[in-house]
Subunit: 402 residues, 2 copies
């Protein structure tokens, strides 16, 4: 039987019938040191091919220093993704995706406790929702549908339909030809929308608190997963404030300019500027998580509520983790006339968003919300550097498989 067992290929699935016996002295080379199994029968249930496309040992090896002469080979990202079912078996992948399922679970539980209702929104939509570009067209019987770039319009209709506070978890699609470490063409959106009573900061506070509770839940319940990932990809623990740190866009501009950046008042933040801002905030406030509030209207979508006093600015915000955007949100225009004017100003075909605008004609609570990228939250919480590590089957302009 020993010879038979020696011939079983790595990664095969076996059934073992054995007697568990105490051993003395302990087996020092094993993690289970006190007992061993005395095998009586051994069956191969599913035999792996002898040559694996990647070795699990290689796949969990920490990235060595570039100058390290004894550095053993790692596994490239493409090899991992082309053979994802094997890469998923590594301790690191197991930890990442178990933590990811934890984020989803925490997100829903926390919102459920806050009185939110989960809704299901369609991904097939009649028009390229947010202005036109970046939607995937779908051949839909005798017409063309578009994949939803976000569930936002439907979340808002949920609010118009008196659900008061809603959330949804589902795929969102972006037809952007962006080949970066943080863009996917399909990712999972954790979306929130809620009516508020006095001020849209109720929305910010609600989302911020949800994120903080998620971070605390991960720290409390996924410590072994975090440590497993850290073994291969070392990073500093994620720091955050319990109360929202809200910076105004104008404050961010001041900080960036003091650091030597040239930027206009109504200019959007580039990725390098966002990262720099993240480092400046971390130095100043010791947090990896903050809210940037009051974006210029010029850089936000047509449905964003303008600031009532300073018309160049808007009631909109992003949230950042380790200097990267993970959420975009705003108070929405809930008045059909104002929304129509804003859409016209943005040169959006009114006919295409008619049912959306009509939703606001029959009484609507002031409301706001935002959408969180699940893969980015996992990547940044764990201090990883590529969103493909936290997407089980990532999709980008160059990858549609497996």
């Amino acid at each position: 039987m020993v010879r038979f067992a020696a011939d079983i290929t790595k990664e095969s699935i076996v059934d073992v019938e054995a007697v568990v016996r105490k051993v003395d002295p302990p087996v020092k080379s094993c993690s289970q040191q006190d007992v061993e199994m005395h095998v009586e029968r051994l069956f191969v249930i599913s035999q792996a091919e002898p040559r694996l496309p990647l070795q699990l040992d290689d796949a969990v090896r920490p990235e060595g220093e570039d100058g390290d002469e004894n550095r053993k080979p790692g596994v490239t990202q493409d090899t991992r993704l082309d053979n994802r079912v094997i890469d998923l078996r590594t301790t690191t992948s197991q930890a990442i995706f178990r933590l990811q399922s934890g984020v989803c679970k925490l997100f829903r539980e926390i919102l459920d406790n806050k009185g939110f209702v989960e809704i299901q929104t369609p991904k097939l939509t009649p028009a390229a929702s947010e202005g036109g570009a970046h939607s995937f067209p779908v051949s839909y019987f005798n017409t063309t549908a578009y994949l939803a770039q976000s569930p936002q319009f439907y979340k808002q209709m949920g609010i118009c339909g008196d659900f008061d506070k809603v959330f949804c978890v589902g795929p969102v699609f972006r037809a952007e030809n962006s080949n970066t470490h943080r863009h996917l063409t399909e990712f999972v959106g954790l979306d929130i929308e809620m009516a508020f009573n006095y001020h849209y900061h109720e929305v910010i506070d609600s989302i911020y608190d949800t994120m903080v509770q998620i971070f605390k839940g991960l720290r409390a319940n996924f410590q072994s997963e975090i440590q497993t990932v850290n073994k291969q990809f070392p990073s500093k623990p994620f720091e955050f404030w319990e109360v929202p740190l809200k910076l105004n866009y104008t404050d961010a501009l001041v900080m960036l300019r003091q650091a030597g950046v040239e930027i206009e008042d109504e200019e959007d933040l580039s990725t390098p500027n966002e990262k720099l801002l993240g480092r400046l905030v971390k130095d100043l406030y010791s947090t990896d998580f903050f809210v940037l509030d009051k974006y210029p209207r010029a850089v936000r979508p047509f449905y964003t509520m303008p600031d009532p006093k300073y018309h160049k600015y808007s009631n909109s915000f992003d949230m950042f983790m380790r200097g990267e955007e993970i959420l975009s949100g705003s108070q929405r225009i809930h008045d059909a006339q104002l929304l129509t004017r804003s859409a016209e100003h943005h040169k959006i075909d009114l006919e295409k968003i008619k049912s959306y605008i009509d939703s606001f004609r029959y009484g609507t609570h002031p409301h706001g919300g935002g959408g969180i990228g699940l893969e980015r939250v996992c990547m940044l919480y764990l201090g990883l550097h590529n969103v493909r590590q936290t997407s089980m089957f990532p999709r980008d302009p160059k990858r549609l498989t497996p």
Copy 2:
């Protein structure tokens, strides 16, 4: 102020500042009889247009008898769906979609307790997965992607990736030109996949128990929602056994033939025959829920594990609620060679499913699973008659809006 208040259009949103005072004698015409509000200030926050596209009173009226002369008008399905944000405000819609969110929550909690891990599967896929027809093509940069008809291949890859037991909740897409009461082109799949130890009935038992716990959870926590829906759409309470009632396909054929149906041994069940079978099972076993096991291979997809003894049959099953299919499941072929032969037999282009077949080359646990249609479960549990009632924004060959 009374005149001002009288002029406020129905469905407008108002802010009221008032003093709550005790009243004696009670106000009999109100549901809140002991106190009333003495309004001091009144603001219109969002004014509804004076003419609503549908009246809420009409929208919740029970459907009267056809011969009823005093019958007041209801609201047609299309009017409801064209004006969904108003229709969602009815007590019936509120109850339906709150119950639906309860189904999702129960599904996940129950599986979480059973040790399942939630995974996220891509909807953009490289090939029309299950043979070809009925997939929506998507223009994807310089190539064509297809919307996933089910998350099955990816759930299975999760099993191949050592996750052991997985579930996912997400949209699935069917490009079938079916205009029936129970078909949608996009619906929400509650999907399960699991490795098993001895027999694929472990999978059936696990799914059955999940469904039973959902039914019990709804009965315990959503009684007021169920009663609200019943007021408009009367139906009998949903009955079920706690232990799985499993019938074999051949038993079903005997029952149907005894009832006068002519049907061949390897013929699939038509919708009328499924409904008849549901009535026969209900009469005989007093349950609205049962499993039909061991379908003929001829009517199941290529990845279905054949019965080891009777090669005309397969280790596959459907589950039924009130005589309508809500789940299709099976043991999957986990051997790459057998899977290749089966795909060839079904004339499937092997090149297109290469990454799927390759997943099984490196050791795979025997496994099985199934996919549940969320909207159908809600419809049939509540005894409704159209799946569009339990889809917030339904999609069918003729409807892509709102």
